[in-house]
């Protein structure tokens, strides 16, 4: 059975990620910042969801909560997968390890043998168009190349924990924002390909409507200050119209803050 067939089955299974009435407030007293208010969001196993919103609307905060790096102030958060894999906004490579070793690290921590993980790392670097660069140190790579190593590392982590019942969960925080258009296009294609091949669940944060519409099955729009879910769309055949519709709505949300 291929991954595609599996996915076309109705997504009524227990969600991989479920947030119910989640609030997040930073600090306390008069200086407190409410970053998220009353967020309800469910992501089905194997689903690809894009969180869309303007800068500062709490996208990273939401992702950190799901990643377990921070706790919600109130509300419940249910993550039913093995440990989520995260790709941060910055590449966050370990500067003392080569590109290859950075990709290998999650596999090493998962207990994979040296030979196996080396082969896997090389395969993943190939995938992000960095074949043969495993020996390079992060400082010898350009910003875009580092970001791609980070993608390979996140994929290594997400796919190393995948098993048949609980697909891995990949959380991505504007991973391609700093890349040039050509590279971004290539990597978006590769990400979709890996997703189809592995059946992992992806929660992808972006502020780029076109990117959201291209990648996601479902686009969730967040408003700003505090972040709440404004609307969500299922991406169907007519992506051009959807793009226009979402852009219009996003513009509306942003403009309301000018007042």
């Amino acid at each position: 059975m291929t991954a595609t067939l599996e996915r076309s089955a109705p997504v009524r299974r227990t969600p991989a990620v479920a947030l119910t009435g989640v609030h997040k407030t930073f600090g306390s007293g008069p200086s407190a910042v409410t970053a998220l208010r009353d967020i309800d969001l469910a992501v089905a196993p194997g689903e690809f969801v894009c969180l869309l919103g303007a800068s500062g609307c709490g996208k990273s905060t939401l992702l950190n909560l799901v990643a377990g790096l921070d706790r919600p102030t109130s509300g419940t958060l249910d993550v039913r997968t093995t440990r989520p894999s995260v790709m941060f906004q910055e590449s966050a490579l370990l500067p003392w390890l080569t590109a290859g070793r950075n990709v290998e690290l999650p596999l090493r921590l998962a207990g994979m043998s040296r030979k196996e993980r080396r082969a896997r790392a090389e395969e993943l670097l190939e995938l992000v168009r960095l074949g043969g660069q495993a020996a390079k140190r992060p400082h010898e790579l350009s910003g875009g190349m580092r970001q791609r190593v980070a993608l390979a590392r996140a994929l290594a982590a997400a796919t190393s924990v995948t098993d048949a019942d609980t697909p891995g969960l990949l959380l991505m925080d504007e991973p391609f924002a700093a890349l040039d258009a050509i590279t971004r296009d290539v990597l978006q294609g590769e990400l979709l390909r890996v997703w189809r091949a592995t059946g992992i669940t992806i929660l992808f944060v972006t502020h780029d409507v076109r990117e959201a519409v291209r990648l996601a099955q479902r686009v969730v729009l967040l408003s700003s200050r505090p972040g709440t879910v404004v609307r969500e769309w299922t991406v169907g055949a007519n992506s051009e119209r959807l793009h226009e519709e979402i852009t219009a709505r996003l513009r509306e949300v942003i403009t309301s803050h000018a007042a």
Binding site: S85, V86, E90, W96, L124, L141, S142, A197
Partner: protein, 297 residues
């Protein structure tokens, strides 16, 4: 579940042009490094200190030849060299050096064993930091000679006195270096470790310690300098039959016998060992660590 990512790769020409375009962008974008030839590096490292040393000896020779002060206070460079050559000829210099260097190394090794867990504790446990953090910093500015009288009273004229002074001198530097190294870790790295599945000791082994390594090494370097310095102070002040004859004792003996060439030869030896260990051990280690991270050229 092993995945076959290769299988999913499209075989059409589109993938090839993609790859070529990305490779082209990478080539334009990659930081370039200009390599300097090894001999030029060697020359630029060794020539300036060599010239400085030569100049120093020349000026010394001139001062001696002009006889501004008595021969007793400023002996001729040649007289110091003769004194030095004599200790080398009868093999005495090797036992002196061995006594001091082995003490310094053993003391430094013990200091490492104590200071490393201590530094980890201070850096990671808030109560410990509040309790002894300031003390540790303050200890660094306390000259370790100050410990010698107390140590002599506690341990008598034995090796224990010497090692106590060396430890008192080097432990604060090493521990503080580790604390500074850990404090300077970018906050994103522990988070990365956490999401990659490293916790507790695994996180310390794979994230915390390697990330803190530059600061730790700087602390070790300073700790070595302090342990060498403290050792010399201890050897000069605490002399006795139970104690081996090290460089400090050799210096003291020169002074007791009013043997100025001997005193100067001893001072040079102390300097040479201190600088030599720094250049042969710590400098290369530090450079390797920093270069691997792109922090030094």
């Amino acid at each position: 579940m092993p995945l076959d990512l290769e299988r999913q790769r499209p075989d059409d020409a589109g993938a090839d042009t993609d790859a070529a375009a990305v490779a082209g962008l990478d080539a334009l974008d990659t930081p370039t490094v200009v390599a300097t030839p090894w001999w030029r590096k060697l020359l630029s490292t060794w020539l300036p200190p060599f010239v400085a040393l030569t100049l120093f000896v020349v000026i010394w020779q001139i001062v001696w030849a002009s006889a501004i002060t008595s021969e007793f206070k400023v002996p001729a460079p040649a007289a110091v060299w003769d004194e030095f050559a004599a200790t080398v000829a009868d093999g005495q210099v090797w036992t002196i050096l061995w006594t001091s260097i082995s003490r310094a190394f053993i003391g430094f090794a013990i200091a490492l064993l104590i200071a490393t867990p201590l530094g980890l504790l201070v850096a990671r446990v808030a109560v410990v930091r509040a309790a002894i953090g300031p003390l540790l910093t303050g200890m660094q500015s306390l000259p370790s000679v100050a410990w010698v009288p107390a140590a002599v009273l506690w341990f008598g004229l034995t090796d224990a006195t010497i090692y106590f002074v060396v430890l008192a001198g080097s432990i604060p530097s090493i521990a503080n270096g580790l604390v500074a190294g850990i404090d300077q870790i970018p906050p994103i790295l522990p988070r990365v470790g956490k999401v990659l599945g490293a916790g507790g000791l695994t996180a310390a082994r794979h994230i915390l310690l390697p990330a803190a390594l530059p600061g730790y090494l700087a602390g070790c370097k300073q700790g070595w300098a302090f342990s060498w310095r403290s050792l010399m102070a201890a050897e000069i002040i605490a002399a006795g039959p139970l104690l081996g004859f090290g460089l400090g004792a050799y210096l003291k003996q020169g002074s007791d016998f009013s043997n100025m060439p001997g005193v100067i030869a001893a001072i040079f030896l102390i300097l040479i060992v201190g600088i030599g260990i720094e250049l042969l051990v710590f400098r290369p280690l530090e450079r390797r660590v920093l270069r691997a991270r792109g922090l030094a050229s």
